[in-house]
Symmetry: C2
DNA sequence: AAATTTCTGTACCGATCGGTTGCAGAGGCG
DNA sequence: CGCCTCTGCAACCGATCGGTACAGAAATTT
């Protein structure tokens, strides 16, 4: 049943995608309402009515980013072995960071590593969501230990932290314009480190590529 | 010969250190002239006279950061072997990122991974200076290949890129409040990756720690 | 068609942004 | 001392910031 009154004349989800891209490119504070509304094709009061305020719009954009642009991360977690989880995650992350139809880098890092005093809540929110992803990965590795996919003496938390550190470093690098092929070489080196730590005896399970 | 006229009543270098810390904490755009001048203990016209403008002050702050706060990087490059270079660099970097008398993270990353449209030059400047550091490290590793410290089939550029990626990831993590001990574990995993790539036969030269 | 409800666009709000000018006075040199 | 330069401070500049008030337009309900 449609609500009474004049219906909204723009697609709220599509406009959110545009806003996401502006935040992705310029960060939270670097994205002005003027540029946001121009990219979204709406006016400021419409933005205010549909999304609350700038900070709420940003949080919604980050949510959509996590849901759409980081679907590869959930796929990676479903891989059968810890090594394949890490390999899929790192390789797909590099691809996602360097798509030529998207801004370079990662919204969660670009959005605001540092902010002005008043919007400190934004960078704390981003940091917390990144660390939440890290915790999810650590739980996946802990499961691998339980399943004897990883040896019992490895620290799943430390391993997950290392993988996330590499993805964040790649995000900073990608934002600086480093090409995809260069990051792929870095990811392979990181994977060798993963192997050396997770399977120190050199008996890594045979997997794809 | 001292200039005629009233001498400056503040220490320009000490004030620059204060400005560096504000930029470090809030980034280029997040640091307002009001907060900068308050931290430096001077007024806006004094800042303008002594440093030119905000962007120039930032560039000078980054220069001083590279000279003072990143001295450990130059020390690391002087180590005799490639492995010791990487190990010293990664470990000292973690310490530098988590000093409790300094803002967490790295000015070069915090300063501005993303910026508004008008100050894009700042983030490009930061990206370029980070990549310059990476090139220096690559040259050090290339020397190691020439000296037969590293095998001839390793790619010094890729190895340097991996090390810098890890430091940048640690910087993002440190800014999020991750404690030093956790980053140290990550650095050790990265070092194991370095070893596996640089000395794939397991014949890493015996070194400290 | 009238009444009602909601959206859209313009124009504007106070606050703050980076940057600048005017001016009083402090301090060096002859 | 007199001069002259430079400092430090307040006040101010236009521009832009995020956020709103208001009136008219559009679509649904009665």
């Amino acid at each position: 049943m449609p609500q009474p009154g004049r219906p909204r004349s723009f697609d709220a989800e599509q406009a959110l995608d545009r806003a996401m891209e502006v935040f992705w490119r310029h960060g939270y504070e670097g994205a002005s309402l003027t540029e946001l509304t121009a990219a979204m094709g709406i006016n400021k009061p419409s933005l205010y009515a549909a999304y609350g305020n700038k900070e709420n719009l940003f949080r919604m954009a980050v949510g959509r980013y996590a849901q759409v642009e980081m679907a590869y991360a959930r796929d990676a977690l479903d891989r059968p072995t810890a090594y394949e989880v890490a390999a899929t995650l790192l390789r797909a992350n590099v691809v996602a960071l360097t798509r030529d139809d998207r801004p370079a880098g990662c919204l969660s890092v670009q959005g605001g590593t540092a902010c002005g005093t008043d919007s400190a809540a934004v960078s704390e929110f981003l940091a917390a969501s990144r660390l939440a992803g890290e915790r999810t990965l650590a739980e996946r590795f802990a499961r691998a230990v339980e399943e004897h996919d990883l040896p019992g003496d490895v620290d799943p938390t430390a391993l997950a932290r290392f993988v996330m550190v590499v993805t964040e470093g790649h995000a900073v690098h990608a934002a600086a314009g480093v090409p995809r092929a260069d990051l792929e070489r870095s990811a392979e080196i990181a994977l060798r480190a993963f192997t050396a730590t997770a399977y120190p005896d050199g008996l890594r399970p045979a997997v794809s590529s």
